[in-house]
Amino acid sequence: MIALAQSMSPDDRLDLVFQALANRTRRELLRRVSAGPARVTDLAAPFGMSLPAISKHLAILERAGLINRSVKGREHSCALGAEPMASAAEWLSAYRVFWEGNLDSLARFVEAEAGRKAGA
């Protein structure tokens, strides 16, 4: 799975990340894992979902590289994969920069026009 993700283009990887993030349960799972590695059974507990249902969500997060799963004996645990999260944040920051710039431009235009009206 991981090898597959690495052979993909950055855009394709980003698609996987955002598909994974576009779900409330998966965002909550990710938030919990971001506090530190956790056992799958502990992660599943607060959701009132079956273990297979949670496993499906975890598999989608894992496919996007957002978590790394490991098995020790009978214990399955999950840890945060930080790098894809950073790419997602970088992608979102482009929108932020766009809007910041656009609002700067709006403020300049509107304030100049309002000043002109007040002065007339």
């Binding site: 766009f98 710039g101 235009f109």
Partner: protein, 142 residues
């Protein structure tokens, strides 16, 4: 943290009605809209719930990217909610909410752009990042 939305706010020293009109009137919108390297060459706004808007963004090489969507909520001069698609109209896009609040210095504008995960492909078409340098220069010249 919600990784699929951004929000920002800005104090603008002008009356709320005026800011709202600048945002929604095509002839005014065309005067301020667009980052460096992009000119707003056309804008159409059907300002009612269910009405559509579209904004033409012409790049330096002459190509045009349309931003379009449908108004979900129109409350002049307080609030707008609309869908946002870059490139292909009707794509399963993101959503923009703009609030215009009266403020002692003028207007507080609060902008939330959400469901960005759904619009991820739009962003690739737009290539905003390449157009952002010098944004301020253009706005000042305008």
């Amino acid at each position: 943290m919600d990784a699929t939305r951004i929000s920002l706010s800005r104090i603008i020293r002008a009356p709320r009605q005026f800011v709202f009109e600048a945002w929604t009137t095509p002839s005014l919108l065309m005067k301020w809209w667009g980052p460096e390297g992009v000119r707003c060459t056309a804008a159409e706004v059907d300002l009612r719930e269910g009405g559509e808007y579209r904004i033409a963004n012409q790049h330096g090489d002459g190509s045009v990217t349309w931003i379009s969507g449908v108004f979900e909520r129109v409350r002049p001069p307080e609030e707008l909610v609309y869908s946002w698609n870059i490139g292909m109209p009707g794509a399963d896009g993101s959503r923009v909410k703009v609030e215009f609040r009266s403020h002692e210095e003028g207007t507080e504008l609060i902008l939330v752009h959400e469901r960005l995960a759904a619009g991820v492909r739009d962003m690739h078409l737009a290539g905003w990042t390449g157009c952002l340098d010098g944004l301020e220069a253009m706005a000042e010249a305008g």
